[in-house]
Symmetry: C2
Subunit: 346 residues, 2 copies
């Protein structure tokens, strides 16, 4: 490989924020050049980024707080996130040109990746879109898998409620719960999403929380017997209503609280007392604590998908420049399904 | 046994309440008579009540809500609670006159108990005060035992925080945690209680939450490395401060939220988001779900007490008429240790 140098468009994180992310918190930077070569002896890979993932957890990296499980972004630096990339040049014996990898990469056209141990090689499969490796078969899908099976400990015929149910994680939780023999209801924020939940993703019922002035009443309507399992993606008023409707020995897997990102003074939960008489277990989790299950997840969920037993909704924006608005859209529910940015098709 | 009829003083529940219980929510009724005999063929016991237990959960029976794990009190009826009683007359082959029993009884001098299956016979032991069978060796002690070992899953050297730490449950949690090799800090509401925690109950540290304008700062002072286990008895602002100071994979056993009983608009918890990055498990529990462990508890904790390895603080009020004020005092922290009413010494 020669010394090919190309232009490399990038998305830059501008600076720490409060409240919900806005498109203007990131910006496109043009004019940077990159040598399409991994330095000799570095063990690194020079990759071309194909698909980038927009995930709510990234909000946590946009504040100046170093005590979390991922460090903050550096103002002025390229945004980092999960991606699917193609190896252009390898200085690492485990990878060769043309390999497809997924893992942490930069929001830019080409990236030089030194930390190759966090990458995973993707075995291309004509029946599985490459972008699914940052969605259904990537971190969000694995979050659903771990959260549902490990944290919720589901039993057949249990009543399952999923908020943000058409999102990257929720849609798989609901489908896994249906396959497990549960009764599943999802909430979402538009009638289009509600329709998809019921008619494409196989939820038993779904409702638009924005059209429910009384969330407690809505849940009582959909769960007259109460809720055994709540897969929590939103927090706030929905969680309060859920606590009123949980059944004894119910489980709440706390995956996200996206309603709380947008405000520096989130709504307080005033009825946690319900945890006691109902003996509820409420547990926060991260998929990264359960990576030993990843191979099994990939095998099982990949196989279910290929058998047509589960489906996956993606919201794909074209072009690196669409990144900032696509990311900001997560926090207003603009995306329908897993939000992906297509930087290049191959 | 003849047809002996005696006067039977009683404490009556006056009617459903809002907010924290007051002494005037109950009243003494005199003049009722009772025949000291269990009706033939009833299988019942006629008992003389010796010690009655004042427990915060009883607040839950003072509202007109039938969906909980215990039904509400009936306005105008005798208050019910745990007690230690002596059998005066038995129509049940499993019990004889003079037996000591503990279980649900009435707040009155004599009770006729039909539901004998909920009773437990106490084997008198000169080294164990009878009143301990509604405290250290009764429901509160068993709550501490189950909550600490089963819900908190403690490991040696972990950092344990107990609120309402000198109370009926908290004082045993702290002592069990010390015996387990943990570092234990307790909070309480008077300097006398703080002193008892440190100098009599063996807590490593203790503080008066009423003298701490910034609970987060107080916890950071006592737990510079953070908290692994929080035994939650109070709720509200303390829980918010604790969530800021929990360590990764921390556990919160939710036993009570006594600060929330006193208000119809409890403080909301605004930082539950911490459950996710810290992967915290927060679990409500009731001791009654774990009764299979009761014999082991009785054996272990009884033996620890007799070896002098644990101690137990009781706050004993004399006379049935002291019941209403003793009960109301639980909610302002008037009691020092387990609140008991002595109706009769034998």
């Amino acid at each position: 490989m020669g010394e090919k140098i190309v232009e490399n468009k990038q998305i830059i994180f501008k600076g720490y924020i409060e409240g919900a992310p806005k498109e203007t918190d990131m910006e496109l930077r043009v004019g940077k050049k990159i040598k399409l070569e991994a330095p000799k002896g570095s063990g690194a890979l020079l990759v071309k980024n194909l698909y980038l993932s927009c995930d709510p957890y990234m909000r946590g990296r946009m504040r100046d707080y170093h005590g979390s499980y991922v460090p903050p972004f550096l103002p002025g630096s390229v945004v980092e996130g999960f991606g699917v990339s193609k190896v252009v040049h390898s200085d690492n014996q485990n990878y060769k040109q043309g390999d497809i990898v997924c893992g942490f990469t930069g929001w830019e056209e080409y990236s030089l990746i030194y930390e190759t141990e966090q990458l995973r090689k993707v075995k291309p499969d004509d029946d599985i879109p490459l972008s699914y490796y940052i969605g259904l078969l990537g971190m969000p899908g694995f979050t659903a898998y771990v959260g549902f099976y490990e944290i919720c400990a589901p039993k057949k015929n249990e009543y399952v409620f999923v908020s943000a149910a058409s999102g990257a994680v929720g849609q798989l939780v609901g489908q896994l719960a249906k396959l497990h023999g549960c009764y599943v209801v999802g909430s979402a924020g538009t009638s289009q999403k509600v329709d998809l939940l019921k008619n494409k993703l196989g939820f038993d019922e779904a409702f638009n929380y924005k059209e429910e002035p009384d969330l407690d009443a809505a849940l009582k309507r959909y769960f007259p017997q109460g809720i055994d399992i709540y897969f929590e993606n939103v927090g706030g008023a929905m969680l309060e209503a859920v606590l009123l409707n949980m059944r004894i020995h119910g489980r709440i897997a706390v995956c996200g609280m996206v309603s709380q990102h947008g405000t520096s003074d989130p709504n307080g939960i005033r009825n946690l007392f319900n945890l006691i008489p109902k003996r509820i277990k409420m547990q926060g989790f991260l998929q990264s604590d359960h990576l030993e299950l990843f191979p099994r997840f990939l095998e099982e969920v990949g196989s279910l998908y290929k058998q047509g037993k589960i489906t996956y909704l993606e919201d794909m924006d074209e072009g690196l420049e669409s990144g900032p608005s696509a990311f900001a859209g997560l926090f207003s529910g603009k995306n329908v399904g897993k939000q992906v940015i297509c930087v290049a098709h191959e």
